[in-house]
């Protein structure tokens, strides 16, 4: 069993399993699937000076923080028990593109030359980690959701606003991955 689960999971297995989060959360807790609001709750818990957007009873949303804690531990279990840090079998074209970007360590889930803790001292990596994190946090709250909340939950409900948000996700992502990211990596 463990042996079998330790192999890479194909998309047609993983995708439906992710989709199952939608009915599971609805049946077990009447909750709509979403992860990014946890960032808001963490701010509401930890910040002393709070603008109106962060003044609410975050305890009502502790389920969301329990979910997030589970995600962290789940990933740890995946790595320890199920060989979760295997290198994805990305396409040849992507490998060539990454080599053009001077990413030579195509190993594990993400490049250590960029995301290794000791690599954070390099300006370009700092921009990607700190700048990228900032845009993720700001953007999801401005858009009212992330890939879970809008792309999976919202589109499952055929919600028009979620469709617009997902189009936005790809406008930003394409612009970054095709034009800006190669420039940052060239620094």
């Amino acid at each position: 069993m463990i042996e079998w689960l330790s192999q890479p999971w194909p998309w047609y297995v993983s995708g439906p399993l992710i989709g199952l989060m939608v009915p599971l959360l609805l049946f077990l807790g009447n909750k709509q699937f979403g992860i990014s609001s946890s960032l808001r709750h963490l701010c509401a818990i930890s910040l002393p000076h709070k603008p109106e957007y962060l003044r609410y009873n975050w305890r009502e949303y502790s389920w969301n923080l329990a979910l997030v804690l589970g995600v962290i531990v789940g990933a740890l279990l995946a790595v320890i028990l199920l060989k979760g840090n295997q290198t994805p079998d990305i396409s040849l074209k992507t490998k060539e593109m990454l080599l053009n970007w001077n990413i030579t360590d195509i190993k594990g889930l993400s490049p250590i030359s960029v995301f290794g803790l000791d690599q954070i001292v390099h300006l370009k990596n700092l921009i990607l980690i700190i700048g990228g994190g900032f845009l993720v946090g700001f953007g999801t709250r401005y858009a009212g959701g992330c890939t879970s909340g809008h792309a999976i939950m919202g589109l499952s409900l055929l919600n028009f606003g979620s469709l617009v948000a997902v189009i936005g996700f790809f406008i930003g992502g394409l612009l970054m991955s095709h034009i800006i990211l190669p420039m940052i990596l060239g620094l």
Binding site: P16, Q32, A66, V71, G74, G168
Partner: protein, 137 residues
């Protein structure tokens, strides 16, 4: 305890995100360059399961395990917020290779620099909270 079931669902989600390689920066770049079906297959089939199951819930008026009516109304449409906010998020997604779920998963998977990405994301939320009254939505 009430929160335990959500923690267990999180465990499940964290394992799937990692084994599905959704948390991989390599996979995200591959997706934005349309060089593989992998990520599109995952997102597409997840949505298909979501549409199917929510439709079943709607048609058969299914209840939660506690017998409550299931809430299925979507989020309100924000013309500017959805598009502009979404695009800003997309920029960050392609930079870090991680949306919020994977931010946490990568931390658990041992990519500790994502702790700083999460702190920075919280800072982003705080800046949004400050600017919210002035931003068009």
């Amino acid at each position: 305890m009430k929160l335990t079931k959500f923690f267990i669902m999180g465990l499940f989600f964290g394992i799937v995100l990692t084994k599905a390689e959704v948390v991989s920066w390599f996979r995200i770049q591959e997706m934005f360059h349309f060089q593989s079906i992998h990520m599109f297959g995952i997102i597409g089939s997840a949505i298909a399961v979501g549409i199917l199951t929510t439709t079943i819930i709607r048609v058969f008026k299914l209840k939660t395990i506690k017998g409550e009516t299931i809430k299925l109304e979507g989020k309100p449409f924000n013309k500017v917020g959805n598009l502009v906010g979404g695009s800003i998020f997309g920029l960050g997604w392609a930079m870090t290779g991680a949306c919020p779920g994977p931010l946490y998963a990568l931390l658990g998977a041992g990519y500790y620099s994502f702790f700083f990405a999460i702190l920075s994301a919280m800072f982003g939320v705080w800046v949004y909270a400050l600017l919210k009254p002035k931003l068009p939505h």
